[in-house]
């Protein structure tokens, strides 16, 4: 179970502070899939960073009762000057996992071939997404935190991701910020809709999507 309890986040802005999130609560159990919906700038990415522990909330708590991936998105997690291989080695050490196993799985999933020996800064967005998903699946978390990135990459990559993450048999929980309503409608069990710093959880996905579309 992962619980976020009355999360508040302020950022300094022009001498004062700007409240991006104002008392957001939600929870997600094993195998559940939570969508985070909201317009651009509604605080989806900020919330993902707070849940992932990348930044600290100004108020409230996050409780992580199962293993939770780092926020998987377009940016972050990799050092751009290092090769894909060096990044994999570093992250395997960080998560205390056997390198050979992690590397074999990542190479198989990401299909980057010789590009593993190139700096990550030379990768396309799709390649970065493949590396991030491959590596995080190799480490094998109970719950995945995903920021939009699901739209990157080609058909083949989409299919692999859906098999690994979305299908109920995978048993993995998911917290996903997305504008792709097709994916949300098909796979998510509940949704958190964000508007002007406030948020509400809906267990009726169709209702949540209607509200999101009316924002």
């Amino acid at each position: 179970m992962i619980t976020i309890d009355r999360i508040v986040k302020d950022y300094p802005l022009r001498g004062g502070t700007h409240r991006v999130l104002d008392g957001i609560s939600a929870s997600i159990g094993r195998g559940e899939r939570l969508a985070i919906l909201g317009r651009n700038g509604a605080g989806k990415s900020t919330l993902i960073k707070l849940i992932g522990g990348v930044e600290e909330p100004s108020g409230g708590h996050v409780q992580r009762g199962m293993s939770l991936s780092w926020p998987i998105g377009f940016e972050g997690a990799f050092h751009h000057h290092l090769t894909g291989l060096d990044n994999v080695k570093f992250i395997a050490r960080l998560y205390d996992r056997p390198l050979a196993e992690i590397l074999a799985f990542t190479e198989d999933f990401a299909e980057l071939g010789v590009y593993m020996h190139m700096p990550v800064e030379t990768y396309s967005t799709g390649m970065r997404a493949r590396l991030a998903f491959g590596l995080s699946l190799a480490i094998d978390f109970d719950c995945y935190l995903i920021d939009e990135v699901i739209l990157a990459g080609d058909q083949r990559f989409h299919r692999k991701c859906q098999e690994a993450l979305f299908h109920k048999q995978s048993g993995r929980a998911l917290i996903m910020a997305s504008h792709a309503m097709g994916i949300v409608r098909e796979f998510c069990t509940h949704a958190l809709v964000l508007k002007q710093g406030r948020g509400k959880v809906f267990h009726d996905i169709d209702l949540a999507i209607q509200i999101y579309e009316a924002l």
Partner: protein
Amino acid sequence: MPAAERGVASLLARQGAIIGALTMREVHVRYGRKNIGFLWIVAEPFLFTVGVIALRTLLPMGTESRGMPLVGFLMTGYTPFLLYRHMVGHSIHCIEHNQNVLYHRQVGFLDIFLGQYILETAGIVMAFALGCTIFIVCGMLFPPKDPALLLAGWFYAIWFSAALALLVGAISPLSTLVDKLYNPLSYLSLPISGAFYLVDWLPSSYGKLALWVPMVNYFEMIRGGYFGGAVRVHFDSLYLTVICLALTFCGLAMLRYTRKNFAVR
């Protein structure tokens, strides 16, 4: 071992492994996997010392400096100063440059800095030891006379540099003033630091003033440790300890504040 102690021990081991991974990563980022890589950090002070010796030999100024072999005087001055410059310099915007590791929540701000400091310390201390050994083998230098005092001096050099670097590094993401001030202040600190003079060479009133500069105290310890009775040194290790403790405390407090307020891209 009781369970609680075992828990703490394994937690420490895990954090140690994380800092180790950060250190290794920093080696790859800074030196890559090409040519001599990490050895550059060792080679640089050696090249500097050899360069100065060459200049002094060309301009006939001798290779002795008031009872100290010049190579020893330069090595004991340049390497601790380099440690300070590298630590503080690399700490500025260190957090921004390493944002990507913050995506992994087991990595704290302090781990990032400690990873850097281990690398700097290992490199510079190796440079000093290796450089001195080469000069000793060549017959240009004698081994240290008082190794305990020499080690104590290096201990304070590392502690002071790391504590100051932590404070500066913790402020730097929040204020661009830090990098504006760093360059002039760092050049200014070279002549006053004690890297290239001894307190005993100054008139006594200036000497007392110089000892208020924390760095001067550890340079004196290092000189006293290396050259023993050949030089008269002055230092106050209690004053130095208080300064280092205060800097460490301020650095850690500032780091907590920055952690709360830093926005990761």
